[in-house]
């Protein structure tokens, strides 16, 4: 067992160290940290605890990166062997489930821990900038490492449980969303008044469960570390719980490995021809849209399921409002309209990113690039059709957003300060204080991240999404600053000429330069890379 594990582990580590991309990512991260330190030093002139602000920013980025890595990088630990049909060969070679799981997951875990380790020397510089102590830094990194362990093992479990990387990514995304949503949901339930069927005991259970969840989440732990002015406890409850849950998921992965690694018996006939005619039907006028919509995004069945899911989500908000205010005439309070809008916008963003990370990547994996290239369809048209298919699949989320907007546009667009507390309040205030700006910002981030994800998915195997998030996080401050500056200049120039719609003119100018100087070069590189792959 030891020999098998060691061989696989060495192979994984060696291929990671030989590949140039992980080193580029680490070097880029180090460069980003240096730039951030420089920015923080500039901010220190204003005397506002720049070290703490810098460190808070780095930790937030790490939480985001680890979460995204969970749904893209870690989930493929075992499924990549299933996808390529090599899992059976490993088992034939006598490698035990424990050896496979240990070697496949540990190498990725170590590779990711390296990314955290490389930051440590730079973050200690934050101490000299003021506002943060070395105990806070160590405690924060321990919390992040524990979060990494939890996410990696959760993703590993999904990887063992599911038959393909796509399904594993879906399961891991759902699990993470539920984990993050559990806290706010329980908190809201705990604030309800006891009624006919909501007993005080249920409310107490919700409140205590909420407290337990809060003690496990990394964001709460980090907030606690940053807020501590005295000596901080290095290892908090979050660390032990994350390690425990991670360990349990690892053991479960090993125990269930044999059960879920059996080759799936192919169903020769699938659905009956009549059912198939309804669910699949004939190819559309745009064949790539048809193919991707039905066989990549899940088709009509999954579209209906998503529509029902989003309807249930909005229904849940309505139900919650009725519980909170039984006598209210409105279906949703302004606060809940905003919450629902933000939640669905978040889910829409996740959907877009997952589609963009897999749309071209799966064609490469299925060796279909050359066949598609031979079709009388130009590559840009083909890529547009692929985007169109994803667009069709996004209709349920977009429809829900439009409905919410149509129901109460005033609540969404008006200046409003949330009554909520903590991080949730900050997010709400930041987003809704300047909604047009937030929408434009969201558009820029999503477009940039989508383009980067698609491009990177043609180069790397599974790390495209976290890499794109990281690159967007690095580049967005520059792009955002340029966009803000241009908007201001355009607005003032328009005002001088008596044009009232200067802001919208600024928006158009921003979209044009963003496309011309940022997105178009990425698009050209995507087309070039696609063409190169067709020859390989």
């Amino acid at each position: 067992m030891i020999s098998g594990t060691q061989t696989l582990f060495n192979w994984s580590l060696r291929s990671d160290s030989r590949s140039v991309y992980p080193h580029i990512v680490r070097a880029a991260f180090a460069g980003f940290m240096l730039l951030s330190i420089l920015g923080a030093w500039g901010a220190s002139l204003s005397g506002m605890a720049p070290g703490l602000k810098f460190f808070e920013g780095i930790c937030s980025l790490n939480v985001l990166l680890i979460s995204v890595a969970g749904i893209s990088y870690f989930v493929s630990a075992v499924t990549e062997e299933k996808d390529s049909g090599t899992l059976a060969l490993l088992r034939l070679a006598g490698v035990s489930p424990l050896a496979i799981v240990l070697s496949k997951s540990t190498s990725r875990l170590i590779s990711s821990l390296m990314l955290l380790l490389i930051q440590l020397p730079f973050t200690f510089l934050a101490i000299t900038l003021g506002g943060v102590t070395w105990q806070q830094i160590i405690a924060a990194y321990l919390a992040l490492a524990a979060w990494l362990c939890l996410v990696a093992n959760m993703a590993l479990f999904c990887s063992v449980r599911c038959t393909s990387s796509g399904r594993a990514a879906g399961m891991a995304t759902s699990a993470l969303l539920m984990f993050f949503a559990a806290g706010p949901l329980l908190q809201q339930f705990a604030t309800l008044k006891a009624g006919s069927w909501i007993t005080p005991g249920m409310l107490t259970a919700c409140a205590s469960l909420y407290a337990e969840v809060q003690q496990t989440t990394v964001t709460t732990r980090l907030e606690e570390i940053f807020a501590t002015t005295t000596v901080v406890q290095l290892a908090g409850t979050q660390l032990w719980r994350s390690l425990m849950i991670g360990g349990t998921l690892f053991v479960l992965s090993v125990v269930m490995f044999n059960r879920y690694s059996e080759p799936v018996e192919d169903n020769t006939h699938g659905q009956s021809a009549a059912v198939r005619r309804f669910t699949v039907g004939r190819c559309w006028r745009w064949p790539i849209v048809w193919k991707d919509f039905l066989f990549f995004t899940g088709g009509r069945t999954f579209l209906s399921m998503k529509l029902a899911g989003y309807a249930l989500l909005v229904g849940g908000f309505v139900w919650f409002h009725q519980l909170e205010r039984p006598t209210a005439d409105a279906w949703l309070s302004p606060d809940l309209v905003r919450t629902a809008f933000l939640t669905i916008a978040l889910l829409l963003t996740i959907e877009i990113l997952l589609y963009s990370s897999n749309s071209l990547f799966l064609e490469v994996r299925q060796s279909a690039v050359a066949s598609l290239k031979m079709l009388p369809i130009q590559t840009p048209v083909l890529l547009l059709q692929k985007a169109g298919a994803c667009g069709v699949a996004l209709i349920p989320a977009a429809l829900c957003l439009l409905l919410l907007w149509a129901y109460d546009p005033q609540s969404i667009t008006s200046l409003h300060h949330s009554q909520r507390a903590g991080l949730t309040r900050n997010v709400f205030d930041a987003v809704f204080r300047d909604l047009p700006g937030a929408i434009i910002g969201w558009l820029i981030v999503v477009m940039l991240m989508t383009h980067l994800t698609i491009l990177l998915s043609l180069y790397t195997r599974w790390a495209a999404l976290p890499l794109a998030v990281f690159l967007t996080a690095i580049s967005f401050p520059c792009i955002g600053a340029a966009a803000l500056g241009l908007t201001k200049v355009t607005e003032e120039a328009a005002a001088l000429n008596g044009i009232s719609w200067g802001v919208w003119f600024g928006v158009i100018v921003n979209l044009v330069w963003l496309w011309l100087f940022v997105l178009l070069p990425i698009e050209i590189e995507i087309v070039n890379r696609w063409n190169r792959l067709s020859r390989e």
């Binding site: 006939h269 699938g270 190819c283 064949p287 060796s367 279909a368 050359a370 009388p376 067709s534």
Partner: protein
């Protein structure tokens, strides 16, 4: 092979019979001084050959010889560094779209959307070639009949055997009725039965007037199937021409095999003494009354046969022994894998 000659084809163009061969016809493929390199690695060096329309042309070479690179250039996926490649008179450089209309390319690692049914898969590719629903119905029916997949049209591709998938892949290549089929290792990974069935389909396609350019390692089957062949090794063409020219021993000697109903032990000695026979020997395999004869190239085989008859023993057969394709292949190519 279920396709029958008496079956009424629905797509007249696809099933059109080949016109009479004309010597002035533009070659289906014309490759002239094709040179291509990947960074330091010279994949093709001054490769030249031609494939005539409505023929089945074999393209043979050891691993790393440049077969797939040549195929990718012909099918417009790869732009050559140097040289001219034309498909039915259209240059792959300047008229890629026209070339693609004429060809159907089946790569060695053929892609299959495994979650589709056979019909959906073909419907997708037919729609991508701009066929309307009626045309798609017609052409899919035809190609399914041709590949003997009529009964499997509603089966998921994931449930098909490799041989069946290969047929579906071939059917896919045919949906836009190309004049030239480029097949890269179409028989690799197939069991003997599936291989024979595939070769039958290729023969049928040739009868229908398609030009087939097939890269394969299965030399014995190529010898039976192909009208012409190109042997390539380390980026150089070693032979290109009719299969007969390659297999006929065009050296200084001709080889024959004679079989007697019965023969005495001295027969070998007697044969060696006859005029025109350079050497006679007992073959390693075969019956005890068989002898391999090596004749002078100038010798008249009829005269030699008369001399043997005069020996007074009943002859069962007397036939020329042609070189096997694998022997020709071994003679022309270099040992070892290219690095």
């Amino acid at each position: 092979m279920a396709f029958r000659a008496d079956q009424e084809p629905r797509n007249q163009k696809l099933f059109a019979m080949p016109p009479a061969y004309d010597a002035n016809t533009v070659p289906a493929i014309s490759v002239s001084e094709l040179t291509h390199s990947f960074k330091e690695h010279q994949a093709l060096n001054q490769v030249s050959f031609a494939v005539m329309p409505q023929t089945l042309h074999g393209f043979v070479g050891p691993n790393g010889a440049g077969k797939t690179t040549t195929l990718k250039v012909i099918c417009t996926l790869l732009k050559p560094n140097w040289g001219e490649v034309q498909v039915f008179g259209h240059s792959v450089r300047s008229s890629a779209a026209a070339v693609r209309e004429k060809i159907g390319f089946m790569p060695d690692h053929f892609s299959m959307y495994r979650q589709m049914t056979v019909f959906e898969y073909l419907d997708f590719f037919a729609a991508a070639y701009g066929l309307n629903i009626q045309q798609r119905d017609q052409v899919i029916g035809d190609v399914l009949t041709l590949t003997d997949m009529d009964g499997r049209r509603d089966d998921l591709i994931s449930g098909l055997s490799r041989g069946m998938q290969q047929r579906v892949s071939l059917a896919r290549v045919l949906v836009h009725d190309p004049d030239l089929l480029l097949l890269d290792e179409p028989a690799s990974g197939l069991d003997p039965r599936a291989r024979i069935e595939l070769m039958e389909i290729l023969r049928e396609l040739k009868r229908m007037g398609k030009t087939i350019f097939i890269s394969s390692h299965i030399l014995s089957e190529l010898a039976e199937l192909c009208d012409s062949v190109t042997i390539i090794d380390r980026g150089h063409v070693k032979f290109s021409g009719p299969m007969d020219a390659l297999l006929d021993d065009h050296a200084e000697t001709k080889r024959y095999r004679v079989r007697f109903a019965q023969a005495p032990d001295e027969m070998l000695e007697w044969l060696n003494c006859l005029d025109g026979i350079l050497s006679a020997e007992v073959p390693e395999t075969g019956s005890s009354f068989e002898f391999d004869l090596e004749l002078n190239a100038a010798a008249d085989s009829n005269a030699v046969l008369s001399s043997i008859i005069e020996l007074g023993f009943p002859i069962v057969s007397f036939s020329q022994r042609r070189k096997q394709l694998n022997q020709a292949f071994m003679d022309l190519t270099t040992r070892g894998v290219r690095t």
